[in-house]
Amino acid sequence: MSSNYIWAAIVGMWVANFAIRFIPVAVVSRMDLPEPVMRWLRYVPVSVMGSLIALEVLRPGGEYQAPWNGAHLPAALVSMATYYYTKSFMGASVAGVVAFIVLRGFIG
């Protein structure tokens, strides 16, 4: 892998990743969005998070994993429950990781 190739990829990723974040902010924040669009946008955050977690937990590494076959799902539930009761991201993350490591020791 040549150094020029790596630098080109780094600069390109910088530009690409900034553009897809900045252009929508710059444009949309200057518009008045109609109510139906606002309502739709209210459901976007939970939808993206739901998709991300489902894939991380039930399709880790791009392969389907039965929920009883790995530590991912129970550990995620531990994290969710911890956040629900403590409202602490710190506590939820730590609890999730600890649960993951412990459970993995049992069920692999």
């Binding site: 390109g12 209210r42 991300l52 894939l55």
Partner: protein
């Protein structure tokens, strides 16, 4: 603090992986500091490994991170009074975690421009520090994901979903989105192969539409 700790191990994993592919320590760190793209960077490494063109690498990282367009659009109505240079800073530091935390703060009424910049800065520092540590120590620590610390990210996502759901209906839509995300790879049987980036975008948009249409 949790956002910092969540980024550290994943940043380390990126640092280790980048070094094994021939990045220098400097290149690994600069890549993390400029792209700040999490999954997008891992995908890029995977594709670079195959010797693909720079264009293919960029296309992949863009598709994986297209969800940022949705995030940016969702955040925008809250940024109307924010000056353009500051919008650029916030856009730069927009990630899954910073978005979710800022939205949660927004709902709690505690979000300000300063707090959003702070959240962005902490993630950037965590991600870059992790990359630096991973890249520097790549010869000694092996694969940090084998310790189980890589679960910090999903654990954080799980907590964020709970934080973001304002009511039962929203939580339900999050579940619907997850079900779509898990069903979409099945299309492979009919010859349609979707990358993870597209799966997340399609399932999110479909679920959000169901949520908006049924919300009366």
């Amino acid at each position: 603090m949790p956002i910092f700790l969540g980024y550290l191990p994943v940043g380390m994993a990126f640092g280790v992986l980048a070094r094994t592919l021939g990045f220098t320590v400097l290149q690994s760190v600069i890549c993390s500091a400029t792209a700040l793209a999490g999954a997008g960077q891992f995908i890029a490494l995977n594709i670079m490994k195959t010797g693909a063109s720079v264009f293919a690498v960029l296309a992949a990282t863009t598709v994986v991170n297209l969800r940022y367009v949705l995030f940016a659009a969702t955040l925008s109505p809250h940024l109307r009074k924010t000056p353009l240079p500051l919008q650029a800073v916030l856009a730069y530091s927009l990630t899954d975690e910073t978005f979710a935390i800022n939205m949660a703060d927004q709902r709690a009424g505690t979000s300000t421009d300063a707090s959003m910049v702070g959240v962005g800065l902490i993630s950037l520092i965590g991600w870059v520090t992790g990359t630096l540590v991973g890249a520097t120590l790549s010869g000694f620590i092996g694969d940090p994901t084998s310790w189980g610390l890589d679960f910090a990210m999903p654990a954080m996502f799980a907590a964020l979903l709970i934080a973001l759901a304002e009511n039962r209906r929203q939580a339900l839509i999050g579940g619907v989105a997850g079900a779509f995300a898990l069903a979409l790879p099945l299309l492979e049987a009919s010859g349609i192969t979707l990358g993870t980036g597209w799966i997340i975008i399609i399932s999110s948009m479909v679920a959000a539409t169901i949520g908006a249409v049924t919300d009366r």
